[in-house]
Amino acid sequence: MATVTAAIWPALDYSRVPYRLYHDAEIYTREQERIFRGPVWSYLGLDSEIPEPGDFRATWVGETPVIFNRDKSGSVKAFVNRCAHRGALVRRELSGNADEHICIYHQWCYGLDGSLTAIPFRRGIRGKGGLDPTFEMRRHGLRPLRVGNINGALFGTLSEDAEPLEDFLGPPILAQLRRLLDRPVRVLGYNRQRIRGNWKLYAENTRDNYHASLLHEFLVTFGLDRSTQTGGVKMDARHRHNITWAEADSDTDEFAHQAYAGAGVRNDFLSLKAPSLVAFRPERDDKLNLVVTSVFPSAVFVQISNSLAVRQIRPRGVDEVEVFQTMLGYEDDPPEMTLHRLRQTNLVGPAGLVSMEDGEAIEIVHRASRPDPERTTVIELGGGGVISDRDYRVTDVPLRGFWSYYAELLGIEPEGAVR
């Protein structure tokens, strides 16, 4: 572990990221330990996905398999989905309802609080075999996670050292989650995408305001979102999380034409035959029609027009990431609004008209950067130096915030580095 040190950073403001960080298996192992099993809160799922006692869902914290369920008293419990006996996955189904969780291998049985409740042939047969009478069942439960709940969004941590969830998120992120989840939600469905690239390329992508209207040409061409709109980036005090935001109808076509033409970027605006795909219906007394809230390390809460979703970044080894997305509506949506949201699900996900390109962008970075671990990316949009909120959109400053906290957790923060 000594081979990766603070000396890896060529710049104290994290404006240069060595390609090695996306490809090194040793670094990946350390991330699992120091980040995903470290003092962070990871998104698990939604309260509304397990409404009844006994309802459970499988999820992941990094590469660690996790189950969350509702116990008989109605409270949510989460634990590592791995039998204390031989390390097998206890619950193999992804969701369901059960009174207990039984490992198929030797039928060790766990309660909804994760405690070990029964072991077959514990006393052997006719007094022979079985476990020693001194074996303490209470010491062999499923490893618990602490669980936190922000308006129905469930987070968990495996670390005793994690600060309280509200403190970890910080006021701006909390406010955004409470805004998005201001009413009970209903799951409209899931989608999954396997991208052949390192998980951090995805985490960076969601904080990268600069790429949006350049890579995702649909945004500008069909008038959904342009960098000329009022918008910016807002972070927590530690700069580990980020909110990318924009306001609807806050620029003019003429100004946008000029700005994009001046930048040498395509600026012909086309119209759709079915414009409801990009029609924004305000749902609260703000003008925000784009809010992408990235929570370190692996959650992204997304509002694009009236499509609502939570994305969970699931690392799958150093060279692959799964993006697991839960599409949402509100419980009190009338049928017509549900239909509108279903139409706008076309915008996001692996086939999304404003998101499919991310899969390709991440793969071409991962492929091209592999052979040169000492070379670096350049992160200077919005300037180098201090990491701070911006009220403009041509910026990738939040990426430097991500790396700053990443370096701290991995124990490779250089002396004098910006935070």
């Binding site: 469905g189 999954r192 995702h216 076309n346 991310d358 390709e360």
Partner: protein, 152 residues
């Protein structure tokens, strides 16, 4: 009038071939004026959840999809190969279910299985031709490899 099985098979063969040749206007022409096209992950379908990867509940939306594919979207450079299995034809001969596999080949000749699943189509007869009124692409491979741009 019940269409003969041969006509249904011809339509399915045409469907896959037109996508593989990137003849999307002709592909669109296989759909009725009032039509629906959805790609739904099996994970959602089995749980009764409505959200899809692609949800076009009008021909206009489907046309917009193709226009976006041509005008705006960027995706992995590849060719598709549809392998459509023998259909089960139901009822009046206008409802069918057919398994499919789509292989993608990149510029360097590497092929991977991109998607497999089931087509569930509802057809109608317009003049001498069969048209697709409702197509549900029930996607088994719902952990989508890389991204999904060209239709299935």
């Amino acid at each position: 009038m019940r269409p003969d099985r041969g006509a249904v098979c011809d339509m399915l063969a045409e469907y896959g071939a037109l996508i593989d040749m990137a003849k999307f206007d002709e592909w669109l022409d296989l759909f009725a004026e009032e039509c629906r096209y959805q790609i739904i992950p099996r994970e959602n379908f089995d749980r009764g959840l409505p959200a899809g990867l692609v949800f076009c509940d009008s021909r206009a939306m489907l046309e917009d999809r193709i226009r976006a594919l041509r005008e705006a979207n960027k995706y992995n450079i590849h060719t598709d190969r549809h392998v459509v299995g023998l259909p089960r034809v139901f009822e009046d001969g206008l409802a069918l279910e057919a398994p499919f596999a789509v292989f993608q080949t990149n510029q360097e000749g590497e092929t991977r299985l991109f998607a497999t699943g089931l087509y569930r189509d509802r057809l109608e007869i317009l003049g001498q031709r069969l048209k697709i009124r409702d197509k549900l692409v029930l996607l088994d491979t719902f952990a989508v490899p890389s991204l999904l741009a060209t239709p299935l």
